[in-house]
């Protein structure tokens, strides 16, 4: 692991990956000499399932550890941070969107968003105003209804709102359209892209769905980072 020093390279905001190496037990590995996503840039990370897309997102989010290399987010090497420092950094700088939303049951839409803002370090009053504005921008009709009472479409919007409400440096969306039909998938991608643009965040979306390619100007095949094929 490289040094934990987080000296800022003024030229790099967004995401800058260098010399990254990750090996999984069963022989699967990712190797990224250099990869850069500019601030505000939108990238589609394409590849079949099991090709390592999710793993790369998890590495960027700091919930998996690489064996070597750096991942700088807004200039800070997240892999050089440890424990609570890394968690706090993630909370402040990275928003994540999941295929199954991973919203918390038992909480309202507003509370789901406020919780993310709380963990990102916002004060209670800021949590409320930011969450309300994020939800209204995404047209959530009833922010006070429990999350499990909302339609799937509304739940997806809440998940997006939660990811962008803190205006993070980076938004990572892991197969956000995998459970949607093509028309809705495209609408969801447009929604996510618009939310990320409004928040000024860099966006990486993973998908195995080729039909989403036309929504992106930059498409990266994850297979180029995997020198050996994934082993079942």
């Amino acid at each position: 692991m490289n040094s934990a020093s987080s000296e800022h390279s003024a030229t790099t905001s967004g995401i800058e990956i260098s010399g990254l190496h990750f090996a999984y037990r069963r022989g699967f590995q990712l190797s990224i000499p250099y990869f850069h996503v500019a601030s505000g840039e939108h990238v589609l990370l394409a590849g079949s399932s099991g090709s390592g897309k999710s793993t790369l997102l998890h590495l960027i989010a700091g919930i998996d550890d690489a064996s070597a290399g750096e991942i700088r987010i807004g200039g800070t090497n997240i892999l050089g941070l440890h424990g609570a420092q890394r968690d706090t950094f993630r909370g402040k700088n990275i928003g994540m969107i999941f295929q199954t939303f991973n919203l918390l049951q038992g909480f309202t839409a507003l509370e789901n968003v406020m919780m993310a803002l709380m963990l990102a370090g916002y004060s209670t009053s800021q949590q409320r105003s930011r969450a309300e504005s994020a939800l209204s921008k995404l047209a959530i009709a009833d922010p006070h209804s429990p999350i499990e009472m909302l339609s799937v479409g509304q739940q997806q919007r809440v998940a997006v709102a939660r990811a962008v409400a803190g205006e993070p440096c980076v938004v990572l969306a892991d197969e956000p359209t995998a459970s949607l039909d093509p028309a809705n998938a495209r609408a969801a991608i447009d929604l996510i892209k618009e939310a990320a643009r409004a928040a000024g965040s860099a966006l990486i979306v993973t998908s195995h769905d080729p039909s989403l390619r036309e929504a992106f100007t930059r498409i990266v095949e994850v297979s180029q980072f995997a020198p050996t094929e994934a082993v079942r």
């Binding site: 999710s54 989010a61 919930i63 968690d87 993630r90 909370g91 999941f98 991973n102 963990l119 209670t124």
Partner: protein
């Protein structure tokens, strides 16, 4: 939004499991508090009642039985002490007082103690706290009675009322032989003393001797009649004993054989302000040599009784502690069994920026909160429970037990429940802490 809201929602999402575990803690805490309160109150009740007596003379089988019968009205003493023996003991030492008592009659299940007015004026049921009157005054003549506070309220007695005693102390209100010819007038009602004496009624010895003397003479006469009746007309209704010619007895007719008692309360002279006398042991040893009587130092006997009962209620307390510990285990099991759902929540919180220690703390907070809510509910339950238990105890065994909970022991039990609950959260908390985040974010297959 704050961490406490997260914990509260987590409890609400698993409402049934949360309620059951809270209820288990509450029941355990309540059980423990009630047992502790009863234990304390029972020993309190026994410590009250022996009052300022130094020695108790009876003809019971053992000193402890003598004390329980003579001062706590457990049963009517079976064996009498003769008048001559009383005179002998009374004159054998310059006692501060020697009060004869006679038990055996009852009023609707409440014991009647026949004694001298000295009992009400000199004997103090709790040392330093003499009897006080809520209304009326002490008995001064035959067939007058003073009622203890509980006896008065239980039977709705008031000064001026006439009541009839029955022979024997059997619990049944109808059973036993009624002394219907001799109604007693209630002349005084005592204030509560917190001792067994509150259940009793007090009258003078002479009244009791008179009615028992009449009974004995009537029975003798009726036995003669019966023998005749069997020859004349079989099936003679036996219940109308008092239709027979009445055997009237006056105080002057009483012989020494009629003057029986069942106990003698003795107090040695003491210095003012002191309750002890150096001669107690010597007098105890002297009286003990008389094989016809049983001598007890009441305080010592109650101490022995408490030692015996103490072992039993430690067992109860141990059981209650086991219940408390198992309620803590149930908290842990409930949390561990919901771990799969919990791990998803933990993974999401971690992604949103919560540290591993924070989710550890959330789990500990959750279990502690269950303990806290349970402890508070348990204390409320115990207040009600001990009130009920003390009522039952007062009715069944006649010990006045105040249904109060000592705040210090209550705080100790509640704190214990909270600490145990917090400890119960450790394993779920460790599991939360160690939850692999990436794995638990994936869609459920």
């Amino acid at each position: 939004m704050n961490d406490m809201i997260i914990v509260l929602r987590s409890l609400r999402v698993r409402l049934l499991a949360s309620s059951v575990t809270v209820a288990m803690v509450a029941i355990a805490v309540a059980l423990l508090l009630v047992l502790m309160s009863l234990r304390e109150a029972a020993s309190q009740a026994f410590r009250r009642g022996t009052g300022n007596i130094h020695l108790l003379v009876s003809a019971d089988a053992s000193p402890l039985v003598g004390v329980l019968n003579g001062l706590f009205y457990a049963n009517a003493p079976a064996n009498p002490i003769a008048w001559g023996k009383y005179e002998e003991i009374k004159n054998s030492f310059p006692w501060q007082w020697a009060i004869p008592t006679q038990l055996g009659d009852s009023f609707r299940g409440s014991p009647v103690m026949a004694t001298t007015p000295d009992f009400l004026s000199n004997f103090e049921p709790v040392s330093g706290q003499p009897f006080q009157y809520a209304s009326g005054k002490a008995f001064a003549e035959d067939f007058q009675v003073v009622a203890g506070s509980q006896a008065a309220s239980e039977h709705g007695l008031s000064v001026g009322q006439k009541i009839v005693f029955s022979h024997g102390t059997g619990g049944s209100r109808e059973g036993g032989h009624q002394h219907a010819d001799h109604p007693y007038e209630v002349v005084g009602i005592l204030k509560p003393t917190g001792s067994a004496h509150d259940r009793a009624l007090f009258t003078n010895l002479q009244s009791t001797w008179i009615i028992h003397a009449e009974d004995r003479r009537e029975n003798a006469a009726s036995a003669e009649h019966e023998a005749e009746a069997e020859e004349d007309h079989a099936g003679h209704d036996h219940a109308h004993e008092h239709e027979h010619e009445h055997e009237h007895v006056e105080a002057a007719d009483l012989t020494d054989a009629d003057k029986l008692m069942t106990g003698i309360l003795l107090r040695l002279p003491t210095r003012p302000g002191s309750d002890a006398s150096a001669s107690i042991a010597a007098q105890f040893d002297r009286l003990r040599r008389d094989m016809a009587i049983t001598v007890a130092q009441p305080a010592q006997q109650i101490g022995r009784l408490m030692a015996i009962v103490g072992d039993i209620d430690w067992l109860f307390l141990a059981m209650a502690v086991v219940v408390l510990v198992s309620s803590a285990i149930s908290i842990m099991l409930a949390m561990v069994s919901s771990m799969e759902l919990r791990r998803r929540q933990v993974a999401v919180l971690r992604v949103l920026g919560a540290s591993a220690w924070r989710v550890f703390a959330l789990a500990i907070t959750e279990s502690t909160l269950i303990g806290l809510i349970g402890a508070i509910l348990g204390a409320i339950l115990a207040l009600g429970g001990s009130a009920i238990a003390s009522t039952i105890l007062a009715q069944r065994i006649g010990i006045t037990v105040a249904g109060t909970i000592d705040p210090r022991s209550a705080a100790l039990v509640m704190a214990g429940a909270v600490v145990l609950a917090a400890l119960a959260g450790i394993i779920p908390a460790i599991k939360s802490y160690r939850t692999p985040v990436a794995r638990h974010l994936r869609p459920i297959a």
